[in-house]
Symmetry: C2
Subunit: 687 residues, 2 copies
């Protein structure tokens, strides 16, 4: 043994001595080195490519001679001439150990390779997909020892791959016999490897060696849009992405109106279930077409969604989610099949739904937790998924708390007089000159500020059509900063502000942003009613965060992550001036983009992540804002801009908020507080 | 402890001391006494009724005082007044121990009660159904600790019944929420308890306490008929039975022609699959209607069938079963759902298919093995399921061998000139006077012999229409006994036999049984060609048995069991004269009736029987007659009546077979042998 050659694998550094003639793949397996193989060392799949190093390796204490490995052989020669092989590469199943050697396993030959995420603070994804391919040679039927084709296939998978207890769907079994014969008793099986609570399963069988990647889908099923990402389950690469409006929109724009639809119309829930499943199938065909594969090539899928979509997708009436105590039919993660959900993927394809956290903190929030991993954070992080219903997570390694808060649709530009969805022509960036009180802005579709001489020309194609969600946040914050708006949310009169852009509008004032009427465009103003809507929305968000901080026993957070597509466009400074998020260093407020979608992709690519998020969700402490007495108090305080009681010391090192008070009689301020306390968060529960 | 009262349960004899105040149900559970309860001791279900005994019990060394149990209580009073309670009975969950007591658990209060089978030699069935009811109280949803309704139901089932790892179908989950609320957070669950390889599962949930038995179906899916037995899964009782012609008959009378149909017609297999499933649904509706239940009340089903029906039922093309090596797609037992088989039972109902033994020894033969249990027999038993393809099992406690043999349809009256199915008017019993060579017979529908003076009147309603399978066996055997037929199978001439009932018919002779032509009826004869058909069929059967005896290393068997509906009508004496079955004492040849159907029923009523037959089938040694060289030799010898070489010593103590030889040139005899050896068993494989 001592005299056997030494084999060192990099980058793992795993090493061991092996008899002369041992294939490198065998050595790798015995050492537990992550070296891929689909064909099991038969020189067919070429997944086990390695790069031997020659010469001195002082770090490993090894000198590698030129003849440290067996000569290039016929199998390698054939493979190279047919498919090509990078110079210096060998097939691990063909090259055998002849002397001490250092062998590098390139990333593409590793099963558990890392998929790098773009954001610096995000963990890389380690590939560990649920579905993998295995090539087998199956014993032919023998009349002297009769057994089923399936049983012989199972035996082969056990003997050649140590896979046991394999289940199979009837649909897969139905097609098995001709496939095994076509492959002359060789086949490639796509196996779902199973989990602690899910038995492994033969999903699909191809005749002979099947040389094509396995695909999976990560789906973010939102109330408004359904976004799907088709992933190569070997490389982790996103092969195609596409989105679709949720066809349920015709039954109601927001979730509550869909719940109502199901309550008012017999069969309404079933109708919505059929609609969303049909929409998904359209989306899947689109994505598969884009990637040049068949939808039946898709063998695994992971879904994330909010609780109402979760139930409607599953065919469960969301009735109970429309009223306290907001009881979910089921909160645990679900393992289902494409067939039982009417999804036109491979009929045996598996569908995994992440667990829901609570009655209105869904699988989408769980996916955000998986992506942003507050439970693994050293510092205290607040993760906010901003939407019509905001989900908030606060935590660190010690514990994680979660709640949701009914922000309403104001941040999406709805219920704002000049509000609109984020689309070309929408005002998305605003600055107001504190002296002149004149705004300048940018619209989506142009990079120019509105005071640029070439702006009119540039904006001519899109027009200036309204204010989107991130625009309204900046607008209100800038108005506060410019002294146009007081802490209670009142817009000042021209006299109080010294600006004739403050226009009397009924009993309150509006701020004139843009008058496009001369060119046939709109008159864009911010009314005091708009301010009220934003106050309510931001107060709901902030008081949810504040409640979590109470429960955690802290007064500040170390960092804030804004999740969701909308979150990516929010200016931290303005959000903080508005008092929408807690006080924090600006550079500690980052955007995670579509973290729910990323979470779905992580769960798709890494099976262990599913177990991980299931246990994380169990450990998350759920806070129900609706029944927390302090929520109302926080809400009232948070109606002020930025806040009636919280001091925002970090913010105040950056900006000075004018000490103005436009309330001459005091009645408006009281009215505002009353509205906040009663009509506020409760009335809009999950709107 | 020592001074705690002693509780003795009968009939188990289990005993233990329990503190005063312990409910009898609790005591029973702690001792592992088989005492039923659906409600878990809440005084709702009354399943735990027991009969306390009072006075001296010398056998148990106990004297039971009148106050050994707590007084009759309000719950028992209410139950008795509403539902009635047999005198002397107590509810085990209400009556508490006060002193030493002897308590009898009547059979109806036992979960694992025995279902007595009529036949003396058959084992009783011990009730141990896969599906049982459990009543639970579920925690209400709590906003402070949100969880899904399903998760709380699972917790309740674990805490109240120690049931863990419970799966649920999507269809059941979809309806869960309103049921739990309707039952005010109490529910009754039908649970499939699972097996080593099958996880337990919530099948159906009813609001509150559901007081109705659970039903299951045992189905014998034959090539010709489908027979279903609806069983009460609590009592084991057969509640309703019904049969239906297999609708696949329109695609081909026998299995081989159905396999051909699928080969000749694209989509033919799928068409036959749809037909048989549709037929089953018709049958199930019929049976459920008869029992006054809904088909959706049926929660478990067990199917037995031959391999071709097995594949066609599952939607697997039977192509491979039509040719060597007769490879099954799968041979192991299958656990499926009603939904995936398009069966209109409860959508979550489980369907169990017994394992197949080999490519033409199917799940029906496995069911016969379960019913007749050759593997548990002290003596060596040959079990013969007679059909167009006969399945044979030979074994005892040491080992069991199995094979099938292609008998063809002659035993069903097909390919016999005057043959017909067993129906009124068919000759089923025959005696031929050895002196006069005149036959007398009985027809189905009358108990009179044909020489009874009142026979013509009695037979007038049915007519005398032909000869059924059991009739043809007796006919040929009686012809041999009366010296009308020689050992080689030749019918003698009038000169050779001294009977003018032997009529020249081409180159051979026919025997006149009945001439009904004067009354417009048929001329019923037995032609020499009929004899040849019967010779081939019985030779196939016997040589299969003989081959198993060779492999077992024996020359005789201790007993013979004839299975199948046809088997019940066969006269052992005549079958033995024919040389259809091996030599054995007449009283050791018994009929098991529809043993395959019984096997299905056993597997339905006792979950352990499923594991048992799966392991038995694995252990059975399969013999493929088609590739056994000695099969041909046995076949040729068995073409003789009774046999060219085997001596049948026991038979010969009962009857004397005339030493006749009607072959004058010797050519017929040789021709007969040749035909047997070549055109015989091989050509008719699985016909």
């Amino acid at each position: 043994m001592q005299n056997d050659p030494l084999v060192v694998f990099t980058p793992s550094g795993k090493r061991g001595r092996f008899p002369v003639g041992t294939p490198l793949l065998t050595a790798a397996r015995q050492l537990g080195v992550d070296l891929d193989s689909v064909c099991g060392g038969r020189g067919i799949c070429s997944k086990c490519q390695v790069t031997p190093g020659y010469g001195e390796f002082p770090k490993h204490g090894v000198k590698v001679a030129r003849d440290a490995l067996s000569d290039w052989n016929a199998v390698e020669e054939r493979y190279k001439s047919k498919r090509g092989l990078i110079d210096g590469r060998r097939l691990g199943c063909q090259a055998t150990v002849q002397g001490d050697v250092v062998v590098d396993v390139p990333p593409e030959s590793q099963v558990h390779k890392q998929v790098v995420r773009k954001r610096a603070e995000a963990r890389d994804i380690v590939m560990n997909p649920a579905v993998r391919l295995f090539y087998v040679e199956i014993a032919e039927p023998d009349m002297h020892d009769p057994s089923g084709d399936l049983e012989r296939l199972r035996t082969a998978l056990f003997e050649q791959w140590q896979l046991s207890d394999l289940q199979i769907d009837l649909a897969t079994l139905q097609g098995l016999q001709p496939i095994l014969r076509k492959g002359k008793w060789t086949a490639t099986c796509a196996i779902h490897l199973g989990t602690a609570s899910l038995r492994p399963r033969i999903l699909k069988v191809w005749p002979g060696f099947h040389d094509a990647p396995v695909h999976g889908l990560a789906v973010d099923l939102g109330s408004t849009t359904i976004a799907g990402h088709l992933c190569n389950l070997v490389t982790g690469e996103v092969v195609a992405s596409s989105g679709l409006m949720n066809p349920q929109i015709r039954f109601g724009e927001d979730l509550m109106s869909r719940v109502s639809y199901s309550m008012m119309n017999a069969g309404g829930a079933a109708e919505m279930t059929a609609a969303v499943r049909e929409g998904m199938n359209t989306l899947f065909r689109q994505i598969a077409g884009e990637a040049g594969i068949e939808t039946t090539d898709i063998l695994d899928a992971v879904f994330v969604c909010n609780p109402v979509m979760h139930h409607l997708f599953l065919g469960i009436d969301p009735f109970e989610l429309g009223q306290a105590p907001f009881a979910l039919a089921t909160s645990d993660a679900l393992n289902l099949t494409a067939a039982e959900l009417d999804l036109q993927l491979h009929p045996a394809a598996r569908v995994y739904l992440l667990p829901c956290i609570a009655g209105h903190v869904g699988a989408d929030a769980a996916a955000v937790a998986l992506s942003e991993a507050p439970d693994k954070s050293e510092d205290l992080v607040l993760v906010v998924d901003v939407g019509t219903n905001a989900e908030l997570l606060l935590g660190n390694r010690e514990k994680v708390l979660a709640c949701s808060s009914p922000t309403g649709p104001a941040f999406e530009g709805a219920q704002i007089s000049s509000g609109q969805r984020a689309a070309p022509g929408a005002i998305e960036r605003v600055e107001i000159d504190p002296a002149s009180k004149v705004p300048r802005f940018k619209v989506i579709g142009s990079d120019l500020w509105s005071d640029d001489p070439t702006f009119p020309e540039a904006a001519a194609t899109t027009g200036i059509t309204g204010i989107c969600g991130s625009g309204i946040i900046e607008m209100v914050a800038e108005m506060r900063l410019a002294g146009l708006l007081d802490g209670s949310g009142l817009i000042g009169s021209p006299e109080q502000t010294g600006s004739d852009r403050c226009i009397l509008d009924g009993r309150t004032y509006s701020y004139l942003v843009w008058d496009g009427r001369a060119e046939g465009g709109p008159l864009i103003t911010v009314t005091n009613r708009d301010i009220r809507e934003i106050q309510m929305a931001k107060a709901a968000l902030y008081s949810g965060a504040r409640l979590l901080m109470d429960k955690f026993g802290v007064d500040k957070v170390d960092r804030i992550v804004l999740a969701g597509a909308f979150g990516a466009h929010i200016s931290p400074k303005h959000a903080m001036i508005l008092g929408m998020i807690p006080d924090a260093p600006f550079d500690k407020v980052t955007s995670a983009g579509n973290a729910a979608g990323t979470g779905a992709r992580i769960a798709l690519l890494n099976m262990d992540a599913r177990a991980e998020i299931e246990s994380t969700v169990h450990a998350i402490q759920k806070i129900e804002t609706a029944i927390e007495p302090r929520f109302q108090e926080h809400f009232v305080n948070a109606s002020n801009i930025p806040n009636a009681v919280d001091p925002f010391p970090i913010l105040k090192t950056h900006v000075t908020l004018p000490e103005v008070n436009f309330n001459q009689g005091g009645s408006e301020a009281r009215q505002s507080r009353r509205r906040g306390a009663s009509g506020g968060p409760g009335g809009r529960r999950r709107a």
